[in-house]
């Protein structure tokens, strides 16, 4: 049953991610992206990674996409205001896309996709085990990445602050 569910959800993810690209309205695009993230959450649950699933749900669906939606609603973009792109840009886009496909196909050939990846420890995604892993063997990278995030946050605040002299 797991395999059928996986293929069903995987099909949905592909359909929704295509809709993200093909939707004319940027707001619809973002809403499809939210649905795509929701299917990812289901994928995580299927992989028994409950913590990752729920964090993906909260952070990506609940916070980041709300901000995306927020900005787009404020900008109020629609078809009329969208700048018409010159044919040169379109040609460049097609070439870049083709290059990406070639790279992807090449890398898929290099990795033998016929051998399925089997998790050594199926309980790894549970909160307790994940916490022990993060704060045990991976403590240094974890702390470093949190420092990085803090630096980014401070930077954003600094950028958004007006100059005292100007104000």
């Amino acid at each position: 049953m797991g395999t059928q569910v996986f293929y069903f959800v995987a099909t949905l993810s592909i359909i929704f991610s295509l809709m993200v690209i093909f939707a004319k309205n940027p707001i619809h695009s973002v809403l499809y992206l939210i649905l795509t993230f929701f299917t990812f959450t289901v994928h995580y649950v299927l992989l028994n990674a409950q913590f990752l699933a729920v964090v993906n749900f909260i952070v990506y669906m609940g916070a980041i996409m709300v901000l995306f939606l927020f900005v787009l609603m404020l900008l109020n973009l629609n078809k009329e205001t969208e700048p018409v792109k010159s044919p040169l840009i379109k040609i460049v886009g097609v070439i870049a896309g083709c290059c990406l496909i070639v790279t992807l196909v090449g890398s898929f050939k290099a990795v033998s996709i016929n051998s399925p990846l089997i998790l050594k420890d199926p309980g790894l995604g549970l909160v307790e085990n994940l916490g022990k892993e993060l704060f045990g063997p991976f403590l240094l990278p974890f702390e470093l990445s949190s420092l990085l995030l803090l630096a980014a946050m401070v930077g954003a605040v600094l950028l958004s602050k007006r100059d005292e002299v100007e104000a």
């Binding site: 309205n25 707001i27 809403l31 939210i34 409950q50 913590f51 729920v54 964090v55 749900f57 909260i58 669906m61 609940g62 916070a63 709300v66 901000l67 939606l69 927020f70 609603m73 404020l74 549970l126 909160v127």
Partner: protein
């Protein structure tokens, strides 16, 4: 997964769903009665004795109203908005433990739909999803007031979610688990979390007022500035869905507060009651106690609404970012230090 299991869960879900709808319905009545009491009026008293049929009359009125979908709106999203708001309000009840396992006909039935081991985070996820109903509805209306209100709602929810999450973290430091069932079982008798986390509870409660868009944080529906708020363009049952979602949210967040901080279905002297009533009726009594706590919190929501005036927008943001978040972080640090000291000695 046998068929009995599915039937059992189905019945439980149906009962909980029904109860939440009825409670939400009668919250509207209670709100008007509480408001009337606080303002020295009578409140609704025409429909039935003491006006208890008033919610039915209101519901009927909602159904009978003309359904209007503005021609300039995005039709599908206009319909999806209220549906999503109601859905997000309802699914939160799935992980709340309503009572200790109950013995029915020789079978032990857990009074909880699903005991997932990330229950607290699930609640949090549902809360963060709730804002989409408002945002989508507000945007789809294609009305500047609705849009402004939706954006207000979104920024308010995001801001207060952070403080709410931080206040829960301090609680989780103590409980060492994310499962709501285990958190409730740890608070056996009168050993409630609120005695250890009074500040955390206060922050959590203020944030849940903001998350449910209740006064004094009901800026998204500030009539003087935004006409009706994000549901200005809505009529009939779609408007009803939005209003209903608010009351269900109130019920769910009351239930979460009672579960996380006020012991859920635990009460002092529950062990002697358990031997007195037996394994079938004692859990039901516990459930009744839990509902008593929930009703108190719902009353508290209303009490505050008719006591404290609405915040101004900058006051709201100041309180969230400069008041509650630093307090919540301080609470985490204090909790951590105290736990470290206790473990050391």
């Amino acid at each position: 997964m046998d068929i009995a299991f599915i039937i059992e869960k189905f019945i439980l879900v149906a009962v909980i769903f029904g109860i939440s709808l009825v409670i939400a319905m009668y919250s509207t009545y209670a709100e008007r009665k509480v408001a009337a009491y606080l303002q020295d009026r009578l409140g609704p008293d025409r429909a039935g004795p003491f006006g208890i049929l008033q919610p039915l009359a209101d519901g009927l009125k909602m159904f009978m109203k003309e359904e209007i979908i503005p021609t300039t709106s995005s039709k599908w999203l206009f319909i999806v908005g209220p549906g999503l708001a109601l859905l997000c309000a309802c699914i939160g009840t799935a992980v709340i433990p309503w009572g200790s396992p109950m013995l029915i006909g020789g079978k032990v039935v857990p009074l909880q739909v699903s005991d997932i081991n990330v229950g607290v985070l699930y609640i949090f996820g549902v809360v963060s999803l709730g804002v989409y109903g408002v945002m989508i509805g507000g945007w789809a209306s294609n009305n500047k007031y609705s849009l402004l209100s939706a954006i207000r709602a979104a920024s308010q929810n995001i801001s207060y979610e952070i403080a709410m999450g931080l206040s829960i973290i301090a609680l989780l430091l103590m409980t060492n688990t994310l499962s709501l069932k285990e958190i409730v079982d740890q608070q056996h008798g009168f050993n409630w979390n609120v005695w250890y986390q009074p500040l955390g509870f206060l922050i959590f409660m203020v944030c849940s007022f903001a998350e449910t868009n209740r006064a004094p944080f009901d800026l998204p529906e500030c009539e003087t500035e935004l006409i009706g708020g994000y549901h200005t363009e809505y009529s009939s049952m779609k408007l009803g869905f939005y209003l209903f979602a608010e009351y269900i949210n109130m019920f769910v967040s009351s239930a979460v507060m009672a579960t996380l901080y006020f012991g859920g279905y635990n009460y002092p002297g529950m062990d002697s009651m358990a031997t007195l009533l037996g394994p079938t009726w004692a859990p039901l009594f516990g459930t009744a106690i839990l509902f008593g706590k929930i009703f108190f919190f719902i009353f508290f929501f209303m009490w505050v609404r008719w006591t404290i005036p609405r915040f101004r927008y900058d006051q709201l943001m100041n309180l969230g970012w400069k008041g509650l978040i630093p307090l919540a972080i301080a609470n985490i640090i204090i909790t951590g230090v105290v736990i470290a000291i206790i473990e050391k000695f």
